[in-house]
């Protein structure tokens, strides 16, 4: 039986919470800060329906660090003032993790995201699904996302997306 690494689990949960907190606070620079500085850092948001049918297309497909930085520009600069804003609340729960090598961990977590548009004030579920993460253990002991795939059980979104999930 594998020994539980409570220190590592706490650190993994802290990373999950930091991402959820950044998104719920619309803090895109904080969101970006959860990702590794490596060029290969990526965030892909895709329906499970696409994945299960070997269709790679996503709702968001940021497959390098530059695109992650551009995602911040979309939200903070390009789209400002053009959409009906909404609050989100991300609920996340780690389900499983595995050490891949000395500096890499894979982790699977469930998520559900509530959405409350500021104009209607009515809360509904925006999406549910799972995060499939690859996490880098950096030299200073920090954990950063090397890749995240937000795989949505919600194949039909109830509205357009502004913020990553």
């Amino acid at each position: 039986m594998m020994q539980t690494d409570t220190t590592l689990e706490s650190a993994l949960d802290a990373l999950l919470m930091a991402d959820a907190s950044a998104l719920d606070n619309k803090d895109m620079m904080g969101w970006l800060a959860n990702y590794s500085e490596e060029d290969e850092a990526s965030y892909i948001c895709r329906s499970a329906e696409n994945s299960e049918n070997a269709l790679a297309l996503g709702f968001m497909y940021d497959d390098c660090r530059s695109r992650l930085e551009d995602r911040v520009t979309f939200v903070n600069d390009i789209w400002v003032g053009t959409f009906q804003d909404y609050r989100t609340r991300h609920f996340v729960q780690r389900v499983a993790y595995q050490r891949v090598d000395a500096s890499t961990i894979s982790m699977r977590s469930n998520f559900s995201v509530f959405m409350t548009p500021t104009d209607s004030g009515i809360t509904q579920v925006l999406a549910a699904g799972q995060y499939l993460d690859t996490i880098r253990l950096e030299k200073a002991g920090a954990l950063k996302l090397l890749s995240r795939r937000a795989e949505l059980d919600t194949s039909v979104l109830p509205r357009y997306l502004v913020y990553p999930i």
Binding site: S47, L57, F59, D119, R159
Partner: protein, 391 residues
């Protein structure tokens, strides 16, 4: 047909907002338009490339099963067992050469023939399986784009498409030999007409991205095709020049062969919008859910001649540029919602840009004219039987 009380404004550039919100009008639209004499795109053959591939889709609530048989022939069926009408296939897509109804185990092949049913000795005398194939709506295709009509009276597909055919062919890669990349599916809190009225036409003033990306355009052609008022846009590609705010500008790069066919939009009455912009090929299969909601399935494609790099480029560009979360289209999605909310106020929506004379319709427009929507509105008015107020 039921007569519905709605007086249409005398000016061709005005549309009563009540047409977007009234339940009785929506119910009549179902009869006159969605079950009427129109063709509705429901799939492209490249979504089911292999023998046995299938896709299900609901067109105005009607469940459809689109299936490719072992010999490669694609057919459209009603997705309901020919026995008691049970929904036959529940998956959105997949691969099967036989479809079994779980209720009484009736089994159909991908040609729609009933090939098995247990206990048929207990059925009516003379029961013959060949009398019970899956029922089919009328369907036809254009460069692989599969259309369905729910009326026996509809004109041919060629007549329906009319002068939109060449633009649509170019949009479909020139030969229709596409390769599916995937879907983005979304429901908008919007009447179906608010969606189609604002999706094909992209008001550049809305898009901050054009300014920040140093992206100039607006020099193309827009024309209306057939009495249905299909809208076609043709413009040479306008590419970003000079510095942009993006760190990875491959998102807005053009790697295709011919800039002359860089940008195409075809919006077919009543709900279909399709676009080829930069290297994105996007077919939007839309269907009304109720008078306040429309569901849109954005399907994205590569071309079968693409090499691996080009497919990856299209995949990255398609995911991030033109859909419900796209760099230059998320604002459009927001407009669908906001215009529908605004339509719950009295009065008329008024078109201005490109309107030269309120008392008549044009058929040729500039790329950024909003008047290109007006022939379609005149067709809608006539199909719905709304009388225009006298001048």
């Amino acid at each position: 047909m039921t007569e519905i009380g709605l007086t249409w404004p005398k000016n061709f550039n005005e549309v009563p907002k009540a047409a977007f919100t009234r339940k009785d009008i929506y119910a009549e639209e179902m009869k006159r338009i969605f079950f009427g004499q129109e063709w509705h795109p429901v799939a492209h053959e490249s979504e089911l490339p292999n023998p046995g591939d299938f896709k299900t889709f609901r067109l105005a609530g009607v469940p459809l099963l689109i299936a490719r048989d072992r010999e490669g022939v694609v057919r459209v069926f009603y997705n309901a067992c020919s026995h008691r009408g049970n929904q036959l296939e529940t998956a959105v897509m997949g691969n099967k050469t036989e479809f079994e109804c779980p209720y009484h185990r009736w089994l159909f092949d991908a040609k729609g023939d009933l090939v098995g049913c247990p206990n048929h000795r207990d059925f009516l005398p003379g029961f013959d399986k060949s009398d019970y194939p899956l029922a089919q709506p009328r369907f036809d295709s254009f460069y692989g784009l599969i259309f369905v009509t729910l009326s026996a009276e509809t004109e041919t597909l060629t007549e329906f498409l009319g002068d939109s055919q060449n633009t649509l062919r170019e949009l479909l890669g020139g030969d229709g030999r596409l390769k599916l990349l995937g879907y983005q599916k979304v429901r908008y809190d919007s009447n179906w007409k608010s969606y189609t009225d604002n999706d094909g036409y992209h008001a550049p003033l809305l898009h901050q991205a054009f300014k920040l990306l140093n992206w100039q355009g607006g020099k193309g052609r827009q024309f209306a095709a057939t009495k249905h008022g299909h809208i076609c846009f043709e413009s040479a590609l306008s590419v970003v020049s000079g510095p942009t705010v993006l760190k990875d500008d491959s998102l807005i790069a053009f790697k295709g062969q011919d800039p002359a066919v860089g940008s195409r939009i075809v919006s077919l009455f009543p709900t279909f919008v399709s676009t080829k912009h930069l290297d994105v090929i996007n077919l939007r299969f839309a269907t009304p859910i109720d008078e306040e909601t429309v569901e849109v399935h954005y399907a994205y494609f590569a071309h079968q001649n693409d090499d691996e790099d080009m497919v990856l480029h299209r995949l990255r560009q398609s995911s991030n540029l033109l859909g419900p979360c796209g760099l230059i289209s998320m604002e459009d999605a927001s407009i669908f919602h906001r215009i529908h909310i605004g339509n719950h106020t009295p009065g008329n929506a008024i078109f201005q840009k490109g309107v030269h004379d309120q008392s008549k319709l044009d058929s040729e427009f500039l790329q950024n004219d909003e008047s290109g929507n007006l022939p379609r509105w005149e067709y809608y008015r006539s199909v719905m039987g709304f009388e225009r107020a006298e001048a």
